[in-house]
């Protein structure tokens, strides 16, 4: 399927377009955050502690008088970083193991797929919690651990693609010409199996953002004073009797972001591969 057909299918679906636009907007806002006419997200103001939303602070202020709107905007940076880096890690591991398992088959396939089974059986969130708390909770650890516990779906996808593609004529003829295994995997099969991986990646970003916010909410994610949507919600919980705005806005930001990635991912899946239409992720 060529690019213009994909574009036509995508652009006919208003929900996909909406998702795509919000994702682009988030990127623009996150990158240009320091040039926007907003308060400094770290500026403490003892005279404006826990102020409800008003003209000078549209989203109100937190317990240190910091502007919640600008903290939410800077929080978008963290979310995007965590989303993309951790999904990148998951894709690399999943693609590597999935292609080896699917291409070589035999005991390697057995071993890798049993490992996938074990990882899928894990109450993953428990494992993530244990690892992060035992290591230093910082953004690098979070990205690494979310990636390391999130590659199994990609691995299964890639393996399934390899299983069907390796029997095709173009692979057989490459082999007959004496092309080596590694080259067949990397140059012939892999490029043909990337479509479902791309969709899984976009949906994975949404999942990673949710996990990061939950971890930061529990206090073992991104550490204050660096603002992240999850740790703003922690101060929302601490000030639950007074400051509803601390709870409302960062959560809305998570909701809209995750929703947009999901809409974009599913719309792309429908456009790229009509066979998958209607299947749930």
């Amino acid at each position: 399927m060529n690019g213009s057909t994909v574009w036509r299918t995508v652009s006919r679906n208003p929900l996909t377009l909406f998702g795509g636009c919000v994702v682009i907007l988030l990127f623009v806002v996150a990158i240009s955050a320091s040039y926007l006419p907003i308060h400094d997200p770290y500026e403490i103001d003892a005279d404006a502690v826990l102020e409800p939303p008003g003209p000078s602070h549209p989203f109100g202020t937190d317990e240190l008088g910091r502007d919640v709107l600008s903290r939410v905007i800077y929080g978008a940076r963290i979310s995007l970083w965590v989303g993309f880096v951790s999904v990148g890690i998951a894709i690399v591991i999943g693609t590597l193991l999935g292609s080896v398992a699917g291409y070589y088959g035999g005991w390697m396939d057995g071993l890798i797929m049993r490992f996938v089974d074990v990882m899928l059986c894990f109450p993953t969130f428990f494992l993530i919690l244990a690892v992060i708390a035992f290591l230093e909770p910082n953004i690098a650890t979070i990205m690494a651990i979310i990636g390391l516990t999130g590659w199994m779906g990609v691995c299964r996808l890639v393996r399934a693609e390899f299983l069907s593609l390796k029997e095709r004529d173009f692979v057989q003829s490459a082999r007959a010409l004496g092309v080596g295994n590694v080259r067949i995997i990397a140059r012939h099969i892999l490029p043909n199996s990337l479509t479902p991986v791309m969709v899984a990646a976009i949906l994975g970003v949404a999942g990673a953002i949710l996990t990061e916010s939950a971890l930061s909410f529990l206090g073992i994610g991104v550490q204050p004073p660096t603002p992240s949507w999850g740790n703003i919600l922690t101060s929302g919980k601490d000030n639950i009797q007074i400051g509803w705005w601390l709870s409302l806005f960062p959560g809305l930001a998570i909701l809209v972001t995750v929703l947009s990635y999901n809409l974009l991912g599913e719309g792309l899946r429908d456009a790229l591969d009509p066979r998958l239409r209607g299947m749930s992720g």
């Binding site: 059986c121 909410f217 209607g278």
Partner: protein
């Protein structure tokens, strides 16, 4: 059937060892040790005293030796003694908190089933109706909502603003003095929000899955056959289609156990419920190796049990699987 059950159970044993081995390795390879945490709390601790503690807890032995020792004690369901100040057996701590977590999760699973199956089925038998579109929107939002945020919002609404429900804990302070009906109401009012919220995210997923499964079944030839026999639409849907559509849903329920267990950490933290999730959180924070390892093991066990139950109930309703041995 017994044969099937035995085969499925045996297949889970290597998985169980895989999970405990990975947990053990991950916990023990992490830098820093619980002795350092103790030493930080007690500046008077000498190097010699530290060494004694290390030997006492067996932290100086190589990893495989410790895993082997751990396995030995695990066979007797002994997870060792907690590193925390109270020095209680890990198993006792788990025994106190596990029933609470299980009760909440079972209640929310039942709630999910009771709501998701009918709405999924209805939505599939009336595709593209207003209700169906509403469900689709609900599902998208349900997938994207961070449930801990939703929990905060309902707490603000019902406990802070309206003051209808208590804000945290499992029972009120005067619980012991209440009459029986008072006790029941007290527990219910404390459990209502946690159960509803932990059901929420599963609800979106399962109703969508139910809808998909039902649509799939409605395309089958036996449905056309049932219709052409002259059965009423209600009979076709609720007798012929629904039963078959439920099969894959049962499996999904079993697979949702790890998510529920993981979610309990967050819910119990928000609602101040003394369950296993909260115990795990405190254990992790104080580097209580035996406690963390014990709970990870129990969590793995529950997950595998969920898988097994899903397999068994699937085989129970579908004779093809019992005989053929696939699945």
């Amino acid at each position: 059937m017994l044969n099937f059950l035995a085969r499925r159970t045996l297949a889970l044993i290597p998985l169980f060892f895989g999970i405990t081995l990975i947990s053990f390795a991950v916990i023990h390879l992490a830098p820093g040790s619980p002795i350092d945490v103790l030493a930080d709390l007690n500046p008077k601790m000498t190097a010699e005293a530290k060494q004694r503690l290390v030997t006492y807890y067996g932290l100086d032995k190589p990893l495989h030796v410790r895993y082997w020792q751990w396995l030995h004690r695990f066979v007797a369901l002994d997870f060792g003694v907690s590193f925390s100040a109270d020095r209680r057996a890990v198993m006792d701590k788990i025994r106190e908190s596990l029933p609470i977590t299980i009760t909440i999760n079972v209640l929310s699973l039942l709630l999910i089933l009771m709501i998701a199956v009918p709405i999924g089925a209805y939505s599939a038998s009336h595709p593209y109706s207003t209700f169906d579109k509403f469900l689709t929107v609900f599902v998208y939002v349900g997938f994207a909502v961070p449930t801990f945020w939703l929990a905060l919002l309902v707490l603000i609404l019902f406990s802070v603003q309206l003051e209808w429900l208590p804000i945290s804990g499992l029972t009120s302070l005067d619980y012991a003095k209440l009459s029986l009906s008072g006790k029941i109401w007290d527990l219910t009012s404390h459990l209502i929000l946690p159960v509803l919220l932990s059901a929420f995210s599963g609800l979106a997923g399962l109703s969508r899955y139910m809808r998909g499964s039902m649509l799939e079944v409605m395309r089958q030839e036996y449905i056309t056959a049932a219709r052409s026999k002259g059965l009423s639409e209600a009979q076709v849907i609720y007798k012929h289609a629904l039963r078959n559509a439920l099969l894959p849903v049962v499996t999904i329920l079993g697979l949702s156990v790890p998510g529920l267990i993981g979610g309990s950490v967050i819910f119990e933290q928000i609602f101040g419920i003394p369950g296993m999730g909260r115990l795990f959180y405190t254990g992790v924070m104080s580097r209580d190796y035996p406690l963390v390892m014990g709970i990870l093991t129990i969590g793995a066990f529950l997950t595998l049990l969920g898988n097994l139950l899903a397999d068994v109930s699937y085989a129970f309703v579908d004779p093809r699987i019992r005989r053929g041995g696939r699945a």
